[in-house]
Symmetry: C2
Subunit: 340 residues, 2 copies
């Protein structure tokens, strides 16, 4: 396996080290190449994602990313110039975000019940395309627009991926989240696509919810969800709600996938670079390790993925919540459990 590693900023390198420890334990032929991208590089050289680096990244089987960001970088620069650019250049139209409440993990909900959902967020369209503009900036007549672009091609492929995931899960249930009563143009395309693709998956039951109602049900009744499919912006929001109710972004994993397999997927914990705790060895690498499991699964290494997931589940169920997290200890435990 040829893996590109973008450790990034803040706690990124620390959690990635543990992710690689676990990955190396289950994939003997792991070859890694490190790429220095992120806030530090931008601050030093002004470079975000040189074309030559992008080309090299394309030659790998997958990319593991730690975290990108630093308070010293103006907001938006790294997001658009690096993170989103990677998603768009590598056609990461599936942004995969499981949200599972593990035994031993405290939910902020009083009665969470079992939660085990898989959010399939579109990653290359919607309001994220950067389309829009400003007229008469800094005058009382300024107008600023943002255009959400949605194509049959783009919606169909992510909806299809979501149905494929749903049909492989025991509950076989898919919920479309949108705001079809207000965003009627895009909403209609999404609804029709779910209906059409759904006809090929008669075994999957389908539900629809408006994004506002869904955000509420994620809190009052999260157990009702199995697979979710939604657009880029709604997905950004609801996956953070899902992460919050399942114990926080400290545990949330994600995969940015090109479902066609043409481009390598990029796997990353949802949390940021957490500069306040960087370098102290106290960052929890669990989200990175869960992202490694998504990576393995995407590359068809289902057995290895299951081992890593089982290691995390066991470790979380036996952790003493009073004990502070030590990054390397968690990594050591998970590597031993997964590789053993």
């Amino acid at each position: 396996m040829r893996l590109a590693v973008i450790a990034g900023d803040g706690i990124g390198p620390e959690v990635v080290t543990e992710g690689l420890k676990v990955l190396g334990g289950v994939v003997p032929d792991l070859e890694t190449t490190e790429y220095d991208l992120g806030a530090t590089r931008w601050q030093r050289t002004g470079e975000l994602l040189p074309d030559s680096v992008l080309d090299e990244l394309r030659g790998h089987d997958a990319i593991l990313l730690g975290a990108i960001g630093d308070p010293g970088v103006p907001p938006g620069i790294l997001e658009r110039g690096l993170l989103l650019r990677l998603r768009f250049e590598l056609d990461h139209h599936v942004n995969l975000r499981p949200a599972k409440l593990y035994d031993g993990v405290r939910s902020p909900l009083a009665e969470p019940g079992p939660i085990d959902m898989l959010c399939v967020r579109e990653g290359t369209e919607g309001p994220y395309v950067g389309n829009g503009g400003v007229l008469r900036r800094d005058t009382p007549h300024e107008v600023a627009t943002e255009v959400s672009l949605n194509t049959a091609f783009g919606v169909e492929r992510v909806v299809r991926y979501a149905f494929e995931r749903a049909t492989a899960r025991p509950r076989r249930h898919l919920t479309l989240i949108h705001k079809t009563n207000v965003l009627t143009h895009a909403g209609s395309l999404w609804s029709r696509t779910v209906e059409e693709v759904g006809a090929e998956f008669p075994e999957v039951t389908v539900a629809y919810q408006h994004v506002d109602a869904a955000s509420m049900f994620f809190i009052t009744d999260p157990g009702r969800y199995d697979v979710i499919v939604t657009d880029n912006l709604f997905g950004d929001i609801v996956t953070d709600v899902a992460a919050a109710v399942t114990g926080g972004i400290g545990l949330a994993a994600s995969g940015n996938l090109d479902a066609s397999g043409t481009h390598p997927g990029m796997f990353e914990p949802v949390h940021g670079s957490a500069p306040d705790i960087a370098g102290q060895g106290v960052a929890d690498p669990t989200a990175t390790v869960l992202s490694v499991a998504l990576l393995l699964e995407h590359l068809g290494l289902g057995d290895q993925a299951r081992k890593v997931n089982a290691a995390v589940a066991f470790d979380l169920s036996t952790r003493d919540p009073q004990q502070p997290v030590r990054t390397t200890e968690v990594g050591d435990r998970l590597a031993a459990l997964a590789g053993g």
Copy 2:
């Protein structure tokens, strides 16, 4: 006070009756005119909001709305043809949604702490303007767009309103919620406007959060928020999250205001028409009564508003959660408490 009443569908008439009971108890000179709008009228006549009715509504001091909607009406018809049309025609640029966790109310959060926030959602711009379209419908080349329109005029007035509310509250804190790192055009307008208007309110501290992070903090640390200002779509989502953590939309009130006072405000519970429990006398009218308090406050009847709010707070703190709600009993109690 000349009040237009749109009782609407489902439980709408039941909760409005109780709202009027409470309002009548604190406003002796109340004159009401009922307007038959909603699913039933549309199904009978095909009419949503005749121009003559709209003209008459404009002549009132305020509008009280129960709930609109019926499963027999295709989604979007009543929302766009009636609810949103009213907001746009009456220039309801402030969509006011308090979220307070009352004593005696169960939050789905294990440790909610005190929650008392006031969401100021923009109501006449953003992705709600209906701008967008579809190209090559029902072909593999279909493209659907949604355009979010944001104007300096529109953003400034709602941001100003939010600062005015913040400065009148003990904590004097305002949080802007947006997604400035991705929606850079609109995000920049919102950020610059908050900065500029904020200079006139040096006593108000200002925070900014991305909508995804905020949706998480609403769950993990809702007590940090005081006043919130946000765009139409983000406001739709985060106010439902806020409602969920403070006990559900059964208690959530809202006011749609033209802060300039040119057009009458419209006050409505956030919940829907709940056809499943309509006609049984078990709908909780509390959200409607809290909307009546917003109405009173907006019309400058602060003393009466405080009485109604105090009645609700007292009643909620003394309700037996085992006892089912009886619509008229709750209304009688609240009317007696507020009017006494």
